[in-house]
Symmetry: C2
Subunit: 227 residues, 2 copies
DNA sequence: AATTGTGAACCTCTTCACAGCT
DNA sequence: AGCTGTGAAGAGGTTCACAATT
């Protein structure tokens, strides 16, 4: 367990004590703009352009990037392709990530269909479900297995990431099974807070909460930024 | 247009200048705990209990609630049912919200299937799609209409909230159509930043970003809280 | 004795502003 | 002249700690 004491060195960059979640999320968005810019054969891009297309300030862009190194040229801006690849590396998206999906319902299938996902280097090696009617058949090339095969499949494909797309009541059980099979990160769509052993990271996407915050701002004219 | 100048009065509470997005999201979570507590016939609950079940501090809970009024009794805690209803009111969830859904693909159908959604007072009055094969038939009681009927249906049902569950390339167009039909808030599942006229609020749920942040923390042992 | 409500301290993230390169 | 990189200032959100209340 290489604990969080890898401050400097590694990427050759001056990685800061603690990068914020917001910075990482923005990096992910900068990447998209850079992807487009690269397709348009733009060679350089300024923090300003990057900022405008993301609804943030240019200082924010420069600060975010500065946590990881110095990629720009003063007077010129940032080299598009280079920065794009750099961000890819920072995010850890410079290689493929095998993923298991638990729950072959609508959300599960939506994840399988999600082209952007595959394009980003995630590939779902298998789905798992308890519903016998879903087993055996494969959806868009993704086989659907019974739960008991989870540990085996995860080991074989060296899977570290799992998606939980089951009803709230089964979510914790599934989460435990993933944990036992050595998962490191879970994307949780269930309407529940998952309890996990230390070392495993969970990101919950809860559509009710998103809708409720939306309703709040619509209703009360709340004026904070939602994105 | 009742602008954001309704600081005090209204709920009889001392509504603060600006409530943060985080506070609203937490409120939404407190509500869930209170719902459960009410089912268990608990009459009072302390900020501590509320905090523990949400992974926050008790001071945070008290501060969050204090923005909207004083609901607790010192030495006793908060009255469960009363606080539950109060939060429901604050969030604007004390009545039903008709919603239109654009895109009857997997994510769209997942939203229709999402029981928690209906239970919270959102009901999808209709779905819209461009695929002729999907039109006419209804999914779980939700009719699927062609796009041109959007304005009419939104007017009839006085819909203020729309869900965008179409591919990235169509998202902005759909968003414009929603805007023209008088939408106030949009929940966007497309992998794009939507540009909207002022006054319309957009909440984007981008699964790629969620996965990428997850990968970052898994990969780099990032240690910030993900939830 | 227990627990709230809240000003003040603290911490974290964002923006400013400008020196330093190209 | 243009634009980055960054220390310092500013804003915003969280936690502390304690008086007030039941």
């Amino acid at each position: 367990m290489t604990s969080a004491a890898e401050r400097d060195g590694d990427t050759g960059g001056r990685e800061r004590d603690q990068i914020s979640l917001s910075t990482i999320r923005r990096l992910s968005r900068y990447y998209r703009v850079l992807e487009t810019a690269a397709e348009e054969d733009l060679t350089h891009i300024s923090s300003n352009q990057l900022a405008e297309r993301n609804g943030v300030t240019s200082a924010q862009v420069r600060k975010d990037l500065s946590y990881f190194g110095t990629f720009g040229k003063r007077g010129l801006g940032y080299p598009v392709r280079e920065l794009r690849d750099e961000i890819l590396h920072i995010l850890g998206m410079d290689h493929q990530w095998p993923v298991v999906l638990v729950g072959a319902g609508n959300i599960g299938r939506a994840m399988i269909d999600y082209v952007e996902f595959r394009r980003r280097g995630f590939f779902i090696v298998a789905a798992f479900d308890v519903d016998p009617r879903k087993l055996g058949i494969s959806y868009k090339g993704v086989p659907v297995f019974p739960m008991f095969r989870l540990p085996e499949v995860m080991q074989t494909h060296e899977v570290e990431i799992g998606i939980v797309a089951v009803p709230a009541l089964s979510a914790q059980r599934v989460c435990n099974q993933l944990a036992e099979s050595g998962v490191k990160g879970i994307l949780n769509f269930a309407h529940t807070r998952l309890i996990v052993p230390p070392g495993i990271r969970v990101r919950t996407v809860d559509m009710s909460i998103e809708m409720e915050t939306l309703v709040y701002v619509v209703n009360k004219n709340g004026s904070f930024p939602l994105d």
